[in-house]
């Protein structure tokens, strides 16, 4: 998938490759010209990726090559052992989690899991979680609390699964109970929004003490398409809706709704995986260090106050 804004860059990069070929044939020396074009390309790249529109971000966040929760669990942590099941009804593959470690620090980690291909997406339900998935997350959080392990959650979902069975089994209750659980949990919680932060289905595991957002991820109360359908009765106006919804890290950070933006390699996390993993790991450890300085009471108060002051209203 190529964003519209990426096209000039990709064309230029193609041209450079052609020139390099010509150059290598040895007939003409184009090395100076190539260098100049490469510099141009770097500038263009920076220019493009520094000026992505909210809708570009939406597309980046949904990019089929974008790194998923599983990628981070594997690469950021020294070991990860998946734990299955909600202990009530099922094991929802759209939400994965388990024990993990970095050095001597044990974590409980979990996240929405999108598939890498169609087959996996069918199994993972495109990262749309059923109540069982949220209840599995809740179970893992309670286990973390029992042993004092910090929780790290990775957010990447279009939204909670809107299916018959999901509603029957109390999607609304599962989300609410998780939010309350996180609000009261006795261990630090770090949330990393790595792709799509889709409304309540995201929030059900995103109510952390520290909310970090990858530069090209989004967080929104409603999908841009859904918003456009409601406001303009036209889902194709999603890009306008993306502008309106304030779903970028930049907007959210400015408004105190998230705590930090983790920069991505130019072109997105998948363009330099190792660099991305390192940035996420560094951010997790740094934020954990900050939270671990708190006493339990301070942590609970910090968390309460953090959310307590979120909101925008006037008071006479």
């Amino acid at each position: 998938m190529i964003l519209d804004v990426e096209k000039p860059l990709l064309e230029l990069e193609e041209k450079i490759l052609e020139l390099i070929k010509v150059n290598e044939s040895g007939k003409i020396d184009l090395s100076k010209e190539i260098k100049a074009l490469e510099k141009k390309a770097r500038e263009l790249k920076k220019d493009i990726y520094s000026n992505l529109t909210p809708w570009d971000r939406v597309l980046m966040a949904r990019h089929p090559q974008r790194l998923t929760t599983g990628d981070y669990l594997e690469a950021v942590f020294d070991d990860f052992f998946e734990l299955h099941g909600d202990r009530y009804y099922s094991d929802d593959a759209a939400l994965v989690g388990g024990l993990a470690s970095i050095g001597d620090q044990t974590f409980m980690v979990m996240g929405h899991q999108k598939g890498k291909d169609t087959k996996e997406n069918l199994k993972r339900n495109f990262g749309m979680v059923a109540p069982d998935g949220f209840r599995k997350a809740g179970r893992l959080m309670k286990l973390a609390e029992k042993f004092g392990y910090p929780v790290v959650t990775f957010i990447d979902t279009p939204g909670a699964y809107p299916g018959i069975e999901a509603e029957e089994r109390g999607q609304f209750e599962a989300i609410s109970k998780n939010i309350a659980l996180m609000a009261g949990l006795d261990v630090p919680i770090i949330t990393v929004i790595i792709g799509e932060g889709g409304s309540g289905g995201a929030l059900a595991i995103a109510a952390g003490d520290r909310i970090l957002m990858l530069e090209n991820s989004i967080y929104s109360v409603i999908s841009p398409e859904g918003c456009a359908s409601i406001i303009w009765r036209d889902a194709s106006k999603a890009s306008d809706a993306a502008n309106a919804l304030g779903l970028t890290g930049e907007f959210l950070l400015k408004n105190g709704l998230i705590d930090e933006i983790i920069p991505e390699p130019l072109g997105g996390v998948h363009k330099d995986r190792e660099k991305s993993y390192f940035a996420v790991k560094e951010a997790i450890l740094r934020n954990l260090e900050m939270l671990q300085k708190f006493t339990l009471e301070e942590l609970k108060n910090y968390r309460y106050d953090k959310y307590r002051k979120m909101g925008s209203f006037t008071e006479k």
Binding site: P162, G163, G170, I175, G200, V221, L252, M310, G311, F313
Partner: protein
């Protein structure tokens, strides 16, 4: 206007009630008949209101305003509004059109936003209250609703007053983006604190209670009641039908459906709601209960058959 409607006026200080219109009753249209939204039967308006806007024929519970719910559930004259001065903003700059809609709904409902909060007596019990109003932007939860719900929960915790919230909402307010979404956390965190203070929290789900409000303070009451036929759930019927590409059964996501599925303690007819609240409050504060509540209890029940 019949007795039922008159009542809530007496809940407001006379000066205000006669005042600038902000706190006055919604205008009652002059037509003598209304049509039931459940079965299309025409109902004589006086009867409709005497029956608490419940259709005798099909049982449909029509929506009530926040003020009507005060009349329905609290002792006459006991309601005292709290947190009146909080007004909605436009943090995402949705602009003129949105603000105009807010202003229109403020006028229509005599509310600043989609919830009315305060304290009152229910039977002998002093309680803190939040009554949502669908007629204000579909009861959508933005920062004002989140803030007022949170404040009334904190008020209940600080003053050891049971908190009763009647929910009625299509969900989070889109126009406030993630500000809206975060209200889910704020309210639920306040519910935790209420619980830690050992103060009960009772929810009454009314039609509709969906999406963001269902998925936050509606879902986790110590006791959860619902009005018959109220639509409850996370995802909307249309979205689900699009997902599964088939029609849903008519009772899907109804209060009765969710009682059957284990998420609601009891579906209670509007007529019995106040009595039911008093019974429940009696358990939580037996000292305040009157002997006749129990002795003369006409609704005393054994297990439902």
């Amino acid at each position: 206007m019949n007795a039922f409607f008159d009542k809530f006026k007496t809940n407001k200080p006379a000066a205000e009630a006669e005042g600038e219109g902000k706190v006055q009753a919604p205008k009652v249209p002059s037509d003598l008949w209304v049509k039931c939204s459940g079965c299309d039967t025409p109902i004589y308006r006086k009867v409709f209101e005497e029956k608490l806007k419940v259709c005798d024929k099909c049982g449909f519970h029509h929506k009530l305003s926040s003020y009507e719910r005060i009349s329905l559930l609290t002792e006459p004259g006991s309601f005292e509004e709290l947190f009146t001065e909080i007004l909605p903003a436009d943090p995402l700059n949705f602009g003129e059109e949105y603000m105009t809609k807010l202003a229109a709904d403020q006028k229509k409902t005599n509310l600043n936003d989609a919830v009315l909060t305060g304290k009152a007596k229910v039977g002998e019990h002093n309680v803190a209250l939040g009554f949502m109003d669908f007629f204000f932007r579909g009861g959508s939860m933005g920062s004002v609703v989140g803030e007022k719900i949170t404040r009334i929960l904190e008020y209940g915790a600080d003053n050891r007053l049971p908190v009763i919230i009647a929910t009625c909402s299509g969900g989070a307010r889109m126009q406030e983006g993630v500000f809206s979404l975060m209200q889910l956390v704020k309210t639920n965190a306040a519910i935790n604190r209420l619980g830690e203070a050992g103060v009960p929290y009772i929810v009454i789900m009314t039609d509709p209670t969906t999406a963001g409000v269902a998925a936050s303070f509606a879902a986790i009451g110590d006791v959860i009641l619902a009005e018959p036929g109220a639509i409850i759930g996370f995802s909307g019927r249309r979205v689900i039908e699009q997902t599964i590409r088939q029609k849903l059964p008519p009772d899907f996501q109804s209060a009765e459906f969710y009682q059957k599925h284990g998420f609601i303690d009891k579906v209670v007819h509007r007529r019995m709601m106040k009595k039911t609240l008093v019974r429940i409050l009696n358990f939580f504060n037996p000292k305040a209960k009157k002997t006749e509540d129990v002795v003369a209890e006409p609704e005393k029940q054994t297990v439902e058959v």
